[in-house]
């Protein structure tokens, strides 16, 4: 890293969903803006844009973060996983399956964030208790479901993951 000021559009090299990616961004652009507006990865949603709702959740170097509270320029050399990185050519991720099976969504705006946050939880703790699930997901807000179906879906995904 350099000590000089970055004053305008800059080339950033990073890894997103396992693929090397390069993009140009202004220092003021958030990672969420870069994902949605520059890279057209529109699965991550803008809810509050201030770190309260979790709709923009992504995994940055193994940590769950709100992409609205990260600058795009900060992710040079990092690894980012977005909702687009979960399904494979063989099918949906087990967490996506569990949310579908359990109808753990209504309008769907919060769903990508919940699914990414759940993947981050199960990567760290494959068998969370209900309390652990509710605390882990406290930064993801859903105004439709009342959370119960979401918690059940996470429990379903956990019991089906086994890895």
């Amino acid at each position: 890293m350099v000590a000089e000021l970055v004053t305008g559009k800059t080339l950033v090299s990073t890894t997103i969903n396992g693929e090397p990616v390069e993009f140009m961004c202004e220092p003021r652009e958030s990672l969420l803006e870069v994902l949605r507006d520059t890279l057209r990865l529109t699965g991550s949603k803008e809810g509050c844009n201030n770190g309260n709702c979790g709709a923009c959740s992504v995994i940055l170097d193994g940590r769950l973060v709100n992409s609205c509270c990260v600058l795009g320029i900060e992710i040079a050399g990092s690894e980012v996983t977005t909702i687009e990185g979960l399904a494979t050519a063989d099918g949906l991720h087990s967490v996506q399956e569990a949310f579908l099976e359990g109808a753990a969504l209504q309008c769907g705006i919060c769903t990508p964030g919940f699914i990414v946050a759940t993947k981050a939880l199960l990567d760290k703790n494959p068998n969370p208790t209900e309390t652990e699930i509710r605390y882990w997901l406290a930064g993801n807000l859903c105004r439709c479901t009342g959370y119960d179906k979401i918690v059940r879906a996470v429990q379903q995904a956990a019991s089906g993951t086994g890895t």
Binding site: A3, L5, V6, N49, S57, R63, N66, L71, E74, A138
Partner: protein
């Protein structure tokens, strides 16, 4: 978000130079969970954001031979709360570091940032105050240290002068037979901002309180060290009667306001309730017991 410039220095000296060269509009950030939002919402006047996470000294955790711990100002909360040595040595600090925001905020936010953001409701600051923590600062004129209790000067403001930055926090080892606890009241347990927060540290000799430190959050323009409550406890038995006296002293010292999170009357009530609970937890730990499983 308004146009900004960005810098990612790797040395404290370079960061200080960048701060000095760019004046009041330059600001250090670590997790960005406060500052990025404030710049976006135009509540802080910033035109240069200086990323601290590339500076090794700000990302280091050092446990001293004397049992003290020095936390780099940019060390994220998840790392602090997940560090077994820190959890074992300073469970009362983890009470606070583990509840600053939800999971995604914990992944980025630091205790140093919590201090520099200087919110009156910051969870980390009362916990640091009761531990007697010191803020280690670098600036154009070299290094200096300030007690965390003296760091904040008003809502969102602190003692950092032009060109200065927080480098680390030093938390002295707890003496034998002492314990600390921090807790807060929030409408939503899992993630929220404190309506009132209270921290306590006690040193016991048997069932007598040798000394104590009480600090409160969200009841004054800054997180506050309630010295009068300490005086009410020194030399007293570790009993409910003593906690009542400390709670009354803490209420006397607090100057809460009414806002969207609670009325002044309710906050005044909470000061007493939480001061007593913080004391009970601190005494429990001082006697070797656990609170919150640690």
């Amino acid at each position: 978000m308004r146009a900004i410039n960005y810098a990612a220095p790797t040395m404290v000296e370079d960061a200080v130079r960048i701060l000095r060269e760019n004046g009041a509009g330059a600001r250090i950030f670590a997790g960005g969970t406060d500052l990025i939002v404030q710049v976006r919402e135009n509540t802080r006047d910033v035109d240069v954001m200086v990323d601290a996470k590339g500076i090794e000294e700000l990302t280091r955790v050092e446990i001293g031979a004397d049992g003290s711990v020095t936390l780099g100002a940019a060390v994220p909360c998840y790392q602090i709360a997940g560090d077994d040595a820190i959890v074992a040595a300073f469970p009362g600090l983890i009470d606070a570091a583990g509840i600053i925001g939800g999971t995604a905020i914990q992944g980025r936010a630091s205790l140093g940032g919590n201090l520099c953001n200087s919110s009156p409701a910051a969870d980390g600051i009362p916990a640091l105050i009761v531990h007697g923590a010191t803020a280690n600062i670098a600036g154009p004129d070299g290094r200096r240290s300030v007690a965390v209790a003296d760091f904040c000067t008003g809502p969102g403001t602190n003692v950092l002068a032009a060109g200065e930055m927080l480098v680390s926090l030093t938390i002295p080892a707890l003496v034998p037979n002492s314990g600390a606890h921090y807790l807060r009241f929030t409408p939503r347990n899992e993630m929220d901002i404190a309506v009132v927060g209270a921290g306590a540290q006690v040193v016991l000799d048997g069932d007598t309180i040798v000394s104590a430190r009480i600090a409160l959050g969200a009841v004054a323009p800054t997180p506050m060290y309630a010295a009068a409550a300490d005086e009410a406890l020194a030399g007293q038995p570790a009993t409910e009667e003593s906690y009542e006296a400390a709670a009354a002293a803490a209420q006397n010292a607090a100057t809460p306001i009414t806002d969207m999170r609670g009325t002044a009357d309710f906050r005044n009530h909470l000061v007493a309730v939480l001061t007593k609970r913080a004391l009970r937890g601190a005494v429990e730990r001082a006697k070797g017991g656990a609170v919150n499983g640690r």
